[in-house]
C-alpha cells in the first residue's frame, strides 16, 4: 500500500468580511504517493484555495495539513518558505517563469535556492528539460518559447527540487489542445515512470480525463471522490 503524502483533517478556510465566506469547509482528505489527482469544480468552489493551503501559501482558519509527517499549519512563515522549497513543486496557470533567464537557468534556479552544487544543477536541469521534450531549447528565454513550451519548462522547474508532490493550478488554462495533450502526456509519464505525485486544480475536461482520482469540490466541501 502506498504511503500517504498529504493528510488533511477538518480543514477550514473562512474569509472574513461583511458576510464570511467558507472557501474550504471541513475537508478531510488523504493523498498517497504516486497519485495523479484532479480537484475539479466550478469557479469559486474553493479548489484553488485548497491548493494554496496544501502548498503552504495560505493559512487555514482551522484543521491540519500533514505533509510527510509535518503539520505545515504549525510552521512559521520562514519555516514554510523553506518547507515549500524542499517538499513542494508548483506549476502555475500563467507559467510564471523568470523572463531574464533561459529555460535551463529557470530550472536550475530552484536548485540554486537549495544550495545544490553547480554540476548537479546543470545536469539535472538538462535531464528534466529532455524529459519534458525541450532538448535543444535549453538556452532560450521564456519569450522565445511557445505557451506550451513555457509550461513544460515550469513542470521541469517544479520537479527540479525533487519535491514530495507537485501542485498544478489550472496548468492547461492558457494552452491550445495540442500543447495541453503534450503537457499531460509528459506529466503522466513522469507520474508513472518516476512515481511523482501530481495534484491539479482544474475544470479542464482534458485534464480530468487523464486523472486517476477525481475529487469534486463544491461550496468548499468534497462532493465526490472517485
Amino acid at each position: 500500500m502506498s504511503k500517504p503524502v498529504i493528510q488533511i483533517k477538518n480543514l477550514e478556510k473562512v474569509y472574513e468580511g461583511a458576510v464570511p465566506v467558507h472557501a474550504v469547509n471541513g475537508i478531510n482528505l488523504t493523498i498517497t504517493e504516486g497519485e495523479f489527482t484532479a480537484l475539479k469544480g466550478p469557479s469559486g468552489c474553493g479548489k484553488t484555495t485548497l491548493l494554496n493551503l496544501l502548498g503552504g501559501l495560505d493559512k487555514p482558519t482551522s484543521g491540519s495539513i500533514e505533509i510527510g509527517g509535518v503539520d505545515i499549519t504549525t510552521l512559521s512563515e520562514n519555516q514554510l518558505i523553506d518547507f515549500r522549497l524542499r517538499n513542494i513543486g508548483f506549476v502555475f496557470q500563467a507559467y510564471n517563469l523568470i523572463p531574464v533567464l533561459s529555460a535551463q537557468e529557470n530550472v536550475s534556479f530552484i536548485m540554486l535556492l537549495q544550495d545544490r552544487p553547480k554540476e548537479e544543477r546543470e545536469a539535472r536541469a538538462q535531464q528534466l528539460l529532455e524529459a519534458v521534450g525541450l532538448k535543444g531549447k535549453e538556452g532560450q528565454r521564456p519569450g522565445q518559447l511557445s505557451g506550451g513550451q513555457q509550461q513544460r519548462v515550469a513542470v521541469a522547474r517544479a520537479l527540479a527540487s525533487k519535491p514530495q508532490f507537485v501542485l498544478a493550478d489550472e496548468p492547461t488554462a492558457n494552452l491550445d489542445s495540442t500543447s495541453t495533450a503534450n503537457l499531460l502526456d509528459i506529466m503522466e509519464k513522469l507520474n508513472k515512470e518516476e512515481g511523482m505525485t501530481f495534484v491539479f486544480a482544474t475544470h479542464d475536461d482534458r485534464v480530468i480525463k487523464k486523472a486517476r482520482r477525481i475529487i469534486s469540490i463544491e461550496d468548499g466541501k468534497v462532493l465526490s471522490d472517485e
Binding site: 494554496n52 502548498g55 501559501l57 495560505d58 520562514n78 518558505i81 523553506d82 515549500r84 522549497l85 524542499r86 508548483f90 502555475f92 500563467a94 510564471n96 523568470i98 523572463p99 531574464v100 533567464l101 537557468e105 536550475s108 534556479f109 530552484i110 540554486l112 535556492l113 537549495q114 522547474r157 527540487s161
Partner: protein, 407 residues
C-alpha cells in the same frame, strides 16, 4: 546566479534604467565639477594670499601678538639672523623674509587713512613673495632714491595718488613717540586681494630706519616648499622657536582664508549629500516601479521557496548595480570635464570686481581632487544601499498568492 538575475533585471526596462543611470552619472558629473571649481577657486585664493603677502607662517614676538606696538620687536640684528638661520635649516622651509610692521596713518592732499606700513628688505621680499610681480605701475624699490613708497591700487585711488605723488606717513617709534616722514609713491601694486591692497603699503626698511633711528624687525615671514601638510609643518616649526616668540600659520594670519579652507570640505560633502538625496529618490522611484511590475514574478519566487534574505539580496544587488554603472560613468565624465576646464579655465570676467574682493582671478581653473572620487564612490554605494531598503521591504511584504494572481 542571483547576481546574474539582478544584472539582467536592471536591463528589462532599458529606458527606465538608462534614465536612472543617466541621472546618477549627471549628478556625479555636476558634483565633481563643483568640487573642482570650488577647490580651484579656493586654492588660487589661498595660493595668491600666501604667495604675494602672508607666506605660510609668520614669526612674531609674543608681545607683538598681544599688542602690535613698534617696540615689540623680535630682537636685534644678530638675534633675527640667528632665528632665520635656525628656521631655514628645517627641510621643508624654502626661505624667510624679515619685515618691520607699523600701524600708522597715510595723509595725501585729498584724504587720510589708517594703514599698516610694511618696512621690507626688497631682496628678501622679491625672493619669498610675488608681491613685486603684482606692480601695475612703477617699480619695487629698484630705482634710486629715498623715501619711496609702494601702495595698493585701491588705496591709491581712494587717496587720489599717482606715481610720484607725495604723502605723509605717521607712525610710532620704538619708544612710542609719534613720528612723521614724507614719502613719494614709487610703485602701485594690485594683488588679487583688494582688502589687503586697501590697507597695506610697503616702504624700504632703510627709509624707516632713518626716522626710527634703528632697524626694527617685527615679523619673519616663512615660506614652505609647498602648500601641503602646512598644519604639521607649522607645529614642527614652532618647536624650534626660542621663548618669547610665537608662530602663526597662514590660517591664523588670515582666519578668513583658513575658515574657507576648512569649511569648503564640509560644504562640498554637503553639496554631494544633496545631490545624493536627489538621486536617492530617483532610484527608489525606479525600484518601486520595478517591484510593482514584477509582483507576479516575485510572488512566484516566494511561493517556490526563495527566502526573504535572498529576495532582499536580489533587490539590493539590482539597486547597487544601477549605482555601480552610473557612478563610474559620472566620475569619468566629471574627471574629463574638469581636465578640459583646467586647460581652458572658466571665464567669469563679468564678475571680475566681486571676485577681486574675494581675492580670486576672473578666470577660474578647476582642480582635480582625487580624494573626492573615493568619497563619491562611497556615497553612491551608500545611497544605492539606502535606496534599496524601501523597495526590498515592499517586495518582502508581498503576499505570494495575491501577487501570483496579479492582485
Amino acid at each position: 546566479m542571483i547576481f546574474k538575475v539582478a544584472w539582467r533585471n536592471i536591463w528589462r526596462s532599458k529606458v527606465r534604467s538608462f534614465i536612472v543611470i543617466g541621472s546618477i552619472a549627471v549628478g556625479i558629473w555636476a558634483g565633481l565639477l563643483i568640487i573642482g571649481f570650488s577647490f580651484g577657486m579656493n586654492n588660487e585664493r589661498t595660493a595668491s594670499a600666501i604667495g604675494t603677502t602672508i607666506g605660510h607662517a609668520q614669526i612674531h614676538s609674543t608681545a607683538f601678538d598681544a599688542e602690535p606696538l613698534s617696540g615689540a620687536v623680535l630682537g636685534d640684528d644678530v638675534a633675527v639672523t640667528k632665528l632665520r638661520e635656525e628656521v631655514e635649516r628645517l627641510p621643508f622651509v624654502a626661505g624667510t623674509a624679515q619685515r618691520t610692521v607699523l600701524q600708522g596713518m597715510i595723509n595725501s592732499a585729498k584724504s587720510a587713512r589708517a594703514v599698516r606700513i610694511m618696512g621690507v628688505w626688497p631682496k628678501d621680499e622679491r625672493a619669498q613673495t610675488t608681491l613685486p610681480m603684482t606692480l601695475v605701475d612703477g617699480d619695487f624699490f629698484e630705482s634710486a632714491g629715498r623715501n619711496r613708497l609702494v601702495i595698493g591700487e585701491k588705496l591709491a585711488n581712494r587717496l587720489g595718488l599717482k606715481l610720484r605723488s607725495k604723502v605723509v606717513l605717521t607712525f610710532q617709534d620704538a619708544e612710542g613717540t609719534l613720528s612723521r616722514a614724507s614719502f613719494r609713491v614709487s610703485g602701485i601694486y594690485k594683488t588679487l586681494n583688494a582688502t589687503w591692497d586697501e590697507f597695506h603699503l610697503y616702504v624700504h626698511h632703510k627709509d624707516l630706519e632713518q626716522t626710527l633711528g634703528a632697524p626694527l624687525v617685527h615679523e619673519v615671514l616663512v615660506r614652505f616648499d609647498e602648500t601641503v601638510d602646512t598644519d604639521e609643518k607649522t607645529v614642527e616649526l614652532a618647536s624650534v622657536l626660542p621663548n618669547g616668540m610665537s608662530l602663526k600659520s597662514w590660517k591664523q594670519v588670515n582666519p578668513e582664508l583658513g575658515f574657507a579652507d576648512d569649511m569648503m570640505a564640509i560644504m562640498l560633502v554637503l553639496v554631494l549629500g544633496i545631490i545624493m538625496m536627489a538621486l536617492l529618490f530617483g532610484i527608489i522611484n525606479n525600484m518601486l516601479m520595478a517591484i510593482l511590475e514584477r509582483r507576479r514574478e516575485l510572488g512566484m519566487l516566494m511561493a517556490v521557496g526563495m527566502n526573504k534574505r535572498k529576495l532582499f539580496l536580489m533587490i539590493l544587488l539590482e539597486t547597487l548595480m544601477l549605482g555601480c554603472v552610473g557612478g563610474p560613468i559620472g566620475i569619468v565624465l566629471g574627471d574629463l570635464s574638469t581636465r578640459i576646464m583646467m586647460r581652458i579655465g572658466i571665464d567669469l570676467t563679468s564678475k571680475k570686481e566681486g571676485l577681486a574682493e574675494l581675492g580670486v582671478q576672473s578666470i577660474i581653473y578647476p582642480e582635480i581632487v582625487p580624494e573626492y572620487y573615493i568619497i563619491i564612490a562611497i556615497m553612491v554605494v551608500t545611497t544605492a544601499l539606502i535606496a534599496s531598503i524601501l523597495p526590498a521591504v515592499r517586495a518582502l511584504k508581498l503576499n505570494p498568492v495575491e501577487a501570483i494572481r496579479g492582485q
